[in-house]
Each structure stands twice: as structure tokens, then as C-alpha cells.
């Protein structure tokens, strides 16, 4: 519970943070809400010697409507998503999912950019962004690029982000048609044992904690698009997944949960 020694710099801007990332290389880590990074440092699973604090960059904290989509600053906290009128009207799923992350203190610290960059397959918001077909805007030394959420996650705690890149914004399509999120866990503040996000009546179905990244339940999506019943589509939810095994669940049980929760989510989204 005692982290190794590190230095700490407050970034003055996204540009400054990226410049520092360039200078320090793999010694450095961006610090946003700190609610994933600091626990890892306390267990000495992460031992960065330089922390670059981007959590105070207020100009990266916003939620606004832009033509056809909603733009969210990377440093927007889960609690801000939870209480956003813009999301309530135009992307209620993201608002709902944010309210299910951890406990109030986690939600008042953790950020949307941080949780996406962390790329934990057990996290809620990455799967929601994936089901919604969102886009991640990353800034590096040579400017910004947009990355489709379906291209973003590459493995356990891994994404396509380069070492000197920072997430600055997340875009999700506006829309409140047929959505639902099922989170199954044992204690209110815990990560999902399995979670299922359904967007747009079922054209986007994504799974939490069913592989090394948040994943789309492609077989179920396709079956549904092809006219299958909800029950038949849900039965395909775990197809081609390789769920992790831990104290809460073995693979077979996770696959079962994925099917049950997908069915429930689809029924609720279309009910």
C-alpha cells in the first residue's frame, strides 16, 4: 500500500502534458482522477517515476452538443456525466452508466478520458462508448487524430494510444433510442462480473469483462439485424468470447451471464 518514490508535475495545458510525455518517455504517466493509477502504484504494479497531473485541466472538462454528436472533454468526471442535462436529453445511456461506476467518491474523481485510456475490460464506460459507436480524440506532438472506439482497445490495459499521446475528447452520437445497461456485480461499488450495454435497440451490443478488452457481441448483433428473436440473439452473446476466470466467476458462468444479461438488456431496450 506504499508506492515507490515519484516526481510530480502539474501540466498547464494539454500541449504541456504532451511535451512532458515526450521528455520523460516511458518513465512518465499521466495522472487524471488517479482512481486506477494510484491503486496500481500502491501495489507497486505501476512504478512511474514521473506523474504528470492533467486532472486540473478544466478546459478539458465539458459536455456539449455539436452537430449530430455530443463532445465530452477527457477530464470530465463520472459525476459530471451522471448529472448532465445534455446527456439526459441526448445520450441517457452514458448518464446512466456513469452513475453505476464505483461509489460516489470514485465518481467524483475518475474521468472519462482516464477510464478509456486505462482500457480495463471490466470497466463500464468504455463498453458504453463502444456500444454507442463513439470516437476517441487523441492529441500527440503532431496534432490530434480521431480513433473509432471499435479500433481503440487492443488488450488488457492496452490501447492504440502512443506513449506521447493523450486523450482530449470523446464523441458519442446523440440519440436516446432503445438503450439499456445491465451490470452484474456482488457489491454496489464493484466492477461488473459481466456487464452488457445495448444501444440503438440492439444494433450496438457490447460486453464488459468478457475478454481482454470491451467487446462487441457481434454474433448477437448480426442475428438481431437478420430478424432473430431477442432470445435467439441473446443465446449468441458469448459466441467467440474468451472470458477471464477469477474468484467471482469461471468462464462458463461468465458466458451464461453474458447471455442472460444480453436478453434482459435487449428486452428492456425494446420494451
Amino acid at each position: 500500500m506504499i508506492p515507490a518514490a515519484f516526481d510530480y508535475t502539474v501540466a498547464e495545458s494539454a500541449d504541456h502534458a504532451i511535451q512532458l510525455l515526450g521528455e520523460y518517455g516511458d518513465e512518465a504517466k499521466l495522472l487524471a482522477g488517479g482512481h486506477s493509477l494510484i491503486p496500481m502504484m500502491k501495489y507497486r504494479l505501476a512504478t512511474p517515476t514521473q506523474l504528470i497531473d492533467v486532472g486540473r485541466l478544466d478546459d478539458l472538462s465539458y459536455i456539449r452538443r455539436e452537430n449530430g454528436h455530443i463532445a465530452i472533454g477527457a477530464m470530465t468526471k463520472h459525476a459530471q456525466l451522471e448529472t448532465s442535462d445534455v446527456l439526459a436529453a441526448d445520450c441517457p445511456m452514458l448518464q446512466h452508466v456513469a452513475a453505476l461506476v464505483g461509489d460516489p467518491s470514485v465518481r467524483h474523481r475518475g474521468t472519462l478520458g482516464g477510464t478509456l485510456a486505462h482500457s480495463d475490460p471490466a470497466s463500464d464506460l468504455p463498453a458504453a462508448v463502444l456500444a454507442l459507436g463513439g470516437t476517441i480524440v487523441a492529441q500527440g506532438p503532431n496534432g490530434t487524430r480521431e480513433i473509432a472506439s471499435s479500433e481503440f482497445f487492443t488488450g488488457y490495459f492496452e490501447s492504440v494510444l502512443a506513449e506521447d499521446e493523450m486523450i482530449v475528447e470523446v464523441k458519442v452520437p446523440a440519440g436516446s433510442a432503445g438503450w439499456n445497461y445491465q451490470k452484474f456485480n456482488r457489491r454496489a461499488q464493484d466492477w461488473a462480473i459481466v456487464g452488457v450495454a445495448v444501444a440503438d435497440g440492439g444494433s450496438g451490443i457490447s460486453l464488459v469483462n468478457m475478454g481482454s478488452t470491451p467487446i462487441r457481441a457481434t454474433a448477437a448483433e448480426e442475428a438481431l439485424a437478420g430478424g432473430a428473436s431477442i432470445a435467439d440473439a441473446a443465446a449468441l452473446a458469448a459466441q467467440d468470447t474468451d472470458p477471464p476466470e477469477d474468484l467471482n466467476a469461471d468462464g462458463e458462468y461468465r458466458a451464461h451471464l453474458a447471455r442472460v444479461l444480453t436478453q434482459r438488456a435487449l428486452e428492456a431496450a425494446n420494451g
Partner: protein
């Protein structure tokens, strides 16, 4: 109105604790203090082939690094860490030194100690100590210990530490089984639990600059026991050791030990002449603090054709962990007397085998042996009801001691005598509060409709042994101490009352309860009462807090000492009134002569008279101060009925506790608010065992979930709003009629919750559910169902 016995007085200790003014061990610092950083075994069982401390020594702020071998050579102690309860003459008790020498026997055992001038520096340096291990086969479960293919201690020929029987009437037991109309048997697993108090453990030893005295601060439940044991282990004279327990943030038994860190900080501080301290980190605690439970129970019950239970037979295989700690071997035996529960069962046969494993040592954890016993008998009662085809309510009603009527001095098959009981009223009240009849109708409706969420209703009628303990009874069990408690009451010159308590709070609210007892007895404002405790310099005599003993032993001692002060004050009052003591009456704090109420003197005014001693009766010693060491003539046996209601999601296997009713009887209540707080916490702790918590070890004896991310302590969000009521059946074991309530909730709730789950799943042919009832286990049980709907 002044608060008295029975008032819901707000706790005196809370303003300080709630505003952050409480000083816990980690808030206390001494100039020049050094921090210990423990290098702990990462192996369940291994030979330590070499320890390289050179890099650690070079780290900034590091003063010293010691290996077990070096410490042993320094001769800092005269005995291994103590076990005060050698349960049998031939119990195997391998020496357990503060730091391992040669062989590490559990993950978390200390193999070297760093001393540095900061906590962070100590942690950094501890990481640089390089330990080479040759791994040895490890015993990672009770089953493996019993099988005996692998030895937990390489130099032992068996993992078995002792065999302990309690079979008062062997023939009676066998006959009952031979003649039984019904028998049931079961195997239950009491998984290991981590005590997890809010404040982790910690300590600091401060040597005095001259004279060789040591002040030892410790987050402990047992400063008095610690003082004696530190003296016995280190050879430092008791008179030179002062133990202080500052504000202590919970313990649940986890702070009832003499741990390696205590002996290391005392001896290193003494050796180096500087303060030495340590604070446990949360993950470290899985290996540095003892764990609870850890038993496999084999139980069978016999009943006649009317469903009257005639005998219970129990065998335990109990997991000691790698070593015997303070009362490790005694814990499972504390339950032995309770396997007949609240029932009039004439025969009991109990045996326990204690086994060594390569896991963290076990020891007392809230209820210590009694929740395990209550669980087994209450589960087997439901199984017997099922076997006979009657309801859980009915089988209990048919078997209550005295038919559920009030009784005193019941001779139990275990040979103990139950002080008092009256079981039926709590049973009836709990079923009524839970609206069990309505719940059964709703349960039937959901079953018929084949709904995904099914209801389960479970009950538990428990009894426990509190007020530990009559010293002779402890002697009979070969326990290494008595069970009395000491109290002093002083009326000070200013009229304030000073109470010195031998029992030591770590969250229970002793200051409040003791003030109420004094207020009630002496007719003073409870705010005029100051309670001194938790410091062996202020309270030299005491046996501390565990086993729901504080009120039933320590509180009674306070009341008795108050009575003696009143008696003496009465003589002074009579002297002042020039009346015979027999004619002096005492009422609401005032003495007066019978028939002339106009002339009166308040007891608080007599404090000064006794202090000044200008005009005391001839031959009377000055001062109003009395002491009592109360050794209870018997234990106290609180009881109650708990009802748990669960909703089971048959799709996911998720179980939600949706209602919980507890009707407890702890005898006379001094402060019902404190009673309710104890019951709430206890219920959640037992429900946590049923649903959430397990210290999980793999077969190499590695703990796989040492952090709060994986060791699931439930929060308020997982618990229903608990409904409480109580009945009052005074104890006959003490003059206050009090019984103890610190562990009651825990003792009733695990069985109630599992009974509820088994009830809910009965259409699926499920008859048992291992704890914790994880969603996966519940889903598998449904999946394996032979009957069921889904």
C-alpha cells in the same frame, strides 16, 4: 433527567471520534522514532537459503536490517510468541519466533526486519532485501492437512496438533442414534475470514531515556494481557512495561493477540534506545494478522418419531494455520458447548482435531467458535425438519428447552448450566415482525408463476456463551489465565466520580455504559463520571475485552464497586446525621434519615468529607475509593431468533438480502442504543460470511485475495434496513442481570441467511449451500437441479 440503566444515552465517546479528535496509534509520534518495514515470506512453505540485506542497508534513511538468524543470536527474547491455551497435555506447539529462522511456514511470515526513519523508507528498503527460497510442498487446505501427504512443518511427522473430546455420555449418544426414527448428517465448511477492522493494527514502543522502562502503544483489545505476555516473552520485568491502547478502531478479535510486531518493536526499542514503530498495511494484514474460522464440521443428529432431537454428534477438523497463536487451539472448543443450541437435547458428542497448515494462523474472530456451532446446529435443524416433513418453525418449537417457557439453571448435555432463558417469545415476535405468513404466500405465488426472482425465508434461533468467564471453568479447559474483571470507583473531592475499568474498549462504548451504571447506582449526572481505561499505568489490573465479557463481568465489577462506595458513604452520612446507619436511606444520590427527609446530604458532597477526613467515624480510613475483582459464578447465555429473507435471481444466481429481523435477548440492557449498534454490526458480519467473505488460498498456500478489491466486505448498500426488537430475560449469573451482546448478531445471522437461500432453492432440490453463497455457486446449484422449474 439523568441517564440511568436502560436509557438510550448518546455515546460520550462519539463527539471526539466523529470530529477526528480521537488519537489512534498512527496519530501518535515520538521524536527519533524508527519505522519497521517487514520483509515477509512470499512462499507458503520454503527453506530460506539466503538473505542478502546489503542493498537495503544502502538505502537512504535505513538504520539497520535484521534477519531472523541475527535476531535470534542477539538474544532479544527468552521465549517464543505465546500460546496461552494448550488445550491438551500433549498438544503439539512448534516454537513460533517473531522472525522465521531457516524455514518460512506461511505467506506473510516475517523473514527480516528493516529499521528506517520513515514509513516509506522502510517499505522501499524492505523491497530491496533479497531472500532466496527453496520451495517446499505446502499445506494449503484443511483437507490436505488431514490427508497428511505433505507436512506443514518439515520437522513434524503429523499435521495433527491435538485431539480434544467432549463426550459426557458415550452410551447415551450411541443409543439415541441406534433408536432414532430419523437421522440426518452434513458436512459444513467454515471458511477462513479476515477480521478487517476499520483501523489496521499498529504499535510503537518508546523506551524511557533512563531506567529501562518501556511505554508500549498498541492498537490492541488486550493491553493487560499484552503487558503480562510481553514480560513473559522478552524477560523485561512487568513493572517496567506500560501498555497503552489509544483510540482503537475496532478489533473483532483481530487485535486480541501477541504478535511478532509487538515483540519486535519492544525488544528493538529496548535494545537501541529509540522508539520503534509499525503500522500494518491493508494487504499486509492478510499475512500479519490472524484470521478467523477455518473449520470443517461433520455433524449428525438423531430424532424420535415426533421430531424430538435425541442426540447430536459433531467432529471438527480445525485449521490452526501455521502456528498456535494466543488462543488458537481453544477457539473451536469454545463452540463445543453450543452444538445442542437452544434445544433440550439430552446427548452431545463432540470431538475436535486441530491441524497445522501453511496458512496465516487462525485465532479469535467475533464469536470465536460459537458462530460456527450455531451455524451447524441451526442448519441441521432445518435439514431435520425437511427430513421429517415439518416446518423450520415447528421443529424448533418441538425442541426448545422447557418447551419454550421461561427457565433458570438448565443442565445442558454439554455439562454447562444455562443461567436463564425464555425462547418462545422471541421466536413468535420475530416471525410476526417478518410477516412470515405473508412471505410464504408470496413465495408460493412466485413459484407458481415461475418468476425469475424467487423468495427464500430462513430462521435461526441461537444461544451463545457470554461473560467469559468463571475462572474455574477456564482452569478446567486448561486456559492460561482467569476470567475475572477488576474495577475501581472513586468519589473525588470535587464530587466527580472516577471509574477505573479493567476491560478495555475498542469501539464498544464502555465510557457511556459505565457512566450510566454509576449514574444509576449513585444518583450522579453521567457527565460527572470519568472512565479511565486502556492504560496499564492508570488501570493496573484487568483482563480486557473479548467474548462479550465487558458488561457481564467488567460492568458488574463497576456496579459492585459503586455499591461499596455507597456503603461507606452511608456510614459517613450517618455519622454526620448522628443517626444509626440502619436508619439512613439512600435515594437518587442523597442520604437522609428515615422520617426526616428535610435533612439530607448528597453523595457527591461526601467526597470532600472523606478526602478532608476532618470528621469521619472513628477508625474509618479516609477517602471514598473501592475496588472489586468480580469472578462470575457462571457464564451468561443470551439468545434470540433471527429471520432472513432473500431474493434469489435464478437467472444470474445473485442473492439479495431483502429483509432481516432480529429479536435478541441479552438480559437487562444498560443502553439499548449501544445494544442495537452491536446487533447491527454483528448481523452484517455474519451475513458477510454467508454471502461475501472468504480468505481464499490456492494449493500452494498462497492467499489469492488479500485486498479489499477481492476480499468482499459488504457495505450498507448490500444490506437491508434491519428490523430489531428484544425481549428481556435477566441473567442469574450476575447482580445486574446482564448477558452480553457483542457477538450475538454474528452468531445468529450466517445460519439464518443460508437457511433462507436453501429454503428459496428447495424446489430445485437444493439442500445445502457452501459459504459464501456466491452467485456462481447459487447458479451452479440451480443448474444442477433435479427438480426445478427454470
Amino acid at each position: 433527567m439523568t441517564a440511568t440503566i436502560g436509557s438510550r444515552m448518546l455515546r460520550k465517546e462519539d463527539p471526539k471520534l466523529l470530529t477526528g479528535e480521537g488519537k489512534y496509534i498512527d496519530d501518535i509520534h515520538a521524536p527519533g522514532e524508527l519505522w519497521m518495514g517487514m520483509v515477509r515470506s512470499t512462499m507458503g512453505h520454503a527453506t530460506i537459503t539466503s538473505i542478502d540485506t546489503s542493498e537495503a542497508m544502502e538505502m537512504p534513511g535505513v538504520h539497520a536490517v535484521y534477519t531472523g538468524e541475527q535476531l535470534q543470536e542477539m538474544g532479544l527474547w527468552i521465549a517464543p510468541l505465546p500460546c496461552a491455551w494448550p488445550v491438551t497435555e500433549d498438544m503439539v506447539n512448534p516454537p513460533h519466533f517473531p522472525v522465521a529462522v531457516g524455514e518460512a511456514k506461511h505467506v506473510g511470515e516475517i523473514v527480516a526486519v528493516v529499521l528506517a526513519d520513515s514509513r516509506y523508507g522502510a517499505a522501499d528498503a524492505a523491497e530491496k532485501v533479497i531472500v532466496d527460497y527453496d520451495s517446499l510442498p505446502a499445506v494449503g487446505s484443511i483437507e490436505a492437512a488431514v490427508a497428511g501427504d505433505v507436512m506443514a512443518h518439515s520437522d513434524l511427522e503429523s499435521n495433527k496438533a491435538f485431539h480434544w473430546p467432549l463426550i459426557p455420555d458415550p452410551e447415551g449418544t450411541e443409543k439415541a442414534f441406534a433408536e432414532a426414527a430419523h437421522t440426518v448428517e452434513a458436512r459444513f465448511v467454515q471458511q477462513r475470514l479476515i477480521p478487517a477492522p476499520m483501523e489496521p493494527r499498529g504499535c510503537m514502543a518508546i523506551p524511557s531515556p533512563a531506567g529501562g522502562d518501556i511505554t508500549f502503544y498498541s492498537a490492541t483489545q488486550v493491553p493487560h494481557i499484552l503487558k503480562v505476555m510481553i514480560a513473559a516473552t522478552t524477560g523485561i520485568a512487568e513493572s517496567k512495561i506500560r501498555v497503552i491502547a489509544p483510540a482503537v478502531g475496532g478489533g473483532f478479535g483481530g487485535k486480541l493477540n501477541v504478535d511478532a510486531d509487538a515483540i519486535l518493536s519492544v525488544t528493538l526499542a529496548n535494545h537501541l534506545g529509540v522508539p520503534v514503530r509499525w503500522t500494518e498495511s491493508r494487504t499486509e494484514a492478510a499475512g500479519s494478522s490472524h484470521q478467523g474460522r477455518g473449520q470443517i464440521q461433520y455433524i449428525s443428529a438423531a430424532a424420535d418419531a415426533d421430531g424430538k432431537i435425541t442426540s447430536v454428534k459433531v467432529h471438527l477438523d480445525a485449521d490452526m494455520g501455521a502456528y498456535m497463536m494466543l488462543i488458537t487451539p481453544g477457539v473451536p472448543l469454545l463452540g463445543s458447548f453450543l452444538y445442542t443450541g437452544v434445544y433440550d437435547i439430552p446427548n452431545l458428542s463432540f470431538t475436535c482435531d486441530g491441524y497445522f497448515t501453511n496458512m496465516t494462523p487462525t485465532d479469535a474472530y467475533r464469536g470465536a467458535g460459537r458462530p460456527e456451532a450455531s451455524y451447524a446446529i441451526e442448519r441441521i435443524m432445518d435439514m431435520m425438519a425437511h427430513e421429517i416433513g415439518i416446518t423450520p418453525e415447528e421443529i424448533r418449537a418441538r425442541n426448545y428447552i422447557a418447551g419454550g417457557e421461561a427457565f433458570e439453571n438448565y443442565d445442558a448435555a454439554s455439562t454447562l448450566v444455562f443461567d436463564s432463558g425464555h425462547y418462545r417469545p422471541a421466536h413468535d415476535r420475530a416471525l410476526e415482525m417478518a410477516k412470515v405468513a405473508d412471505l410464504r404466500a408470496e413465495q408460493a405465488r412466485r413459484r407458481d408463476a415461475g418468476e425469475a426472482k424467487q423468495l427464500g425465508i430462513g430462521m435461526c434461533t441461537y444461544v451463545e456463551i457470554c461473560g467469559l468467564a468463571p475462572s474455574r471453568a477456564l482452569g478446567g479447559l486448561n486456559y492460561g489465565a482467569g476470567g475475572w474483571e477488576h474495577a475501581t470507583v472513586r468519589m473525588l473531592p470535587t464530587g466527580k466520580v472516577e471509574v477505573v475499568s479493567g476491560s478495555t474498549p475498542h469501539g464498544q462504548g464502555h465510557e457511556t455504559a459505565w457512566s450510566q451504571i454509576i449514574a444509576d447506582k449513585m444518583g450522579v449526572d453521567p457527565n460527572d463520571v470519568e472512565v479511565l481505561h486502556s492504560d496499564t499505568a492508570k488501570s493496573p489490573l484487568g483482563l480486557d475485552t473479548y467474548g462479550s465479557r465487558s458488561l457481564a463481568v467488567g460492568g458488574v465489577a463497576i456496579a459492585m464497586a459503586a455499591d461499596k462506595v455507597i456503603e461507606k458513604a452511608k456510614l459517613i452520612a450517618a455519622h454526620q446525621f448522628e443517626a444509626a446507619p440502619e436508619d439512613v436511606e439512600f435515594e437518587a444520590g442523597s442520604f437522609s434519615v428515615a422520617g426526616t427527609p428535610s435533612k439530607s446530604v448528597h453523595i457527591q458532597e461526601l467526597g470532600f468529607a472523606a478526602f478532608a477526613a476532618h470528621d469521619l467515624p472513628d477508625g474509618m480510613e479516609p477517602n471514598l475509593q473501592e475496588q472489586v475483582s468480580f469472578d462470575p459464578p457462571n457464564f451468561a447465555f443470551p439468545f434470540g431468533t433471527h429471520v432472513a429473507v432473500v431474493e434469489i435471481d435464478t437467472g444470474t444466481g445473485g442473492v439479495e438480502l431483502i429483509d432481516y429481523v432480529a429479536v435478541d435477548d441479552c438480559g437487562t440492557q444498560v443502553n439499548p442504543l449501544i445494544v442495537e449498534g452491536q446487533v447491527h454490526g454483528g448481523i452484517v458480519q455474519g451475513a458477510a460470511q454467508a454471502l461475501f467473505e472468504v480468505a481464499n488460498y490456492d494449493e500452494d498456500a498462497n492467499i489469492t485475495n488479500p485486498s479489499f478489491m477481492d476480499y468482499l466486505v459488504p457495505s450498507a448498500a448490500e444490506m437491508p434496513s434491519i428490523q430489531l426488537d428484544s425481549t428481556v430475560t435477566p441473567s442469574t449469573s450476575n447482580p445486574l442481570g446482564v448477558k452480553g451482546v457483542g457477538e450475538a448478531g454474528t452468531i445468529g445471522s450466517a445460519a439464518a441467511v443460508i437457511n433462507a437461500i436453501c429454503d428459496g432453492l428447495s424446489p430445485y432440490g437444493v439442500t445445502d449451500m457452501e459459504m459464501p453463497a456466491t452467485p456462481q455457486r447459487v447458479w451452479q446449484a440451480i443448474n444442477n437441479s433435479n427438480g426445478g422449474a427454470a
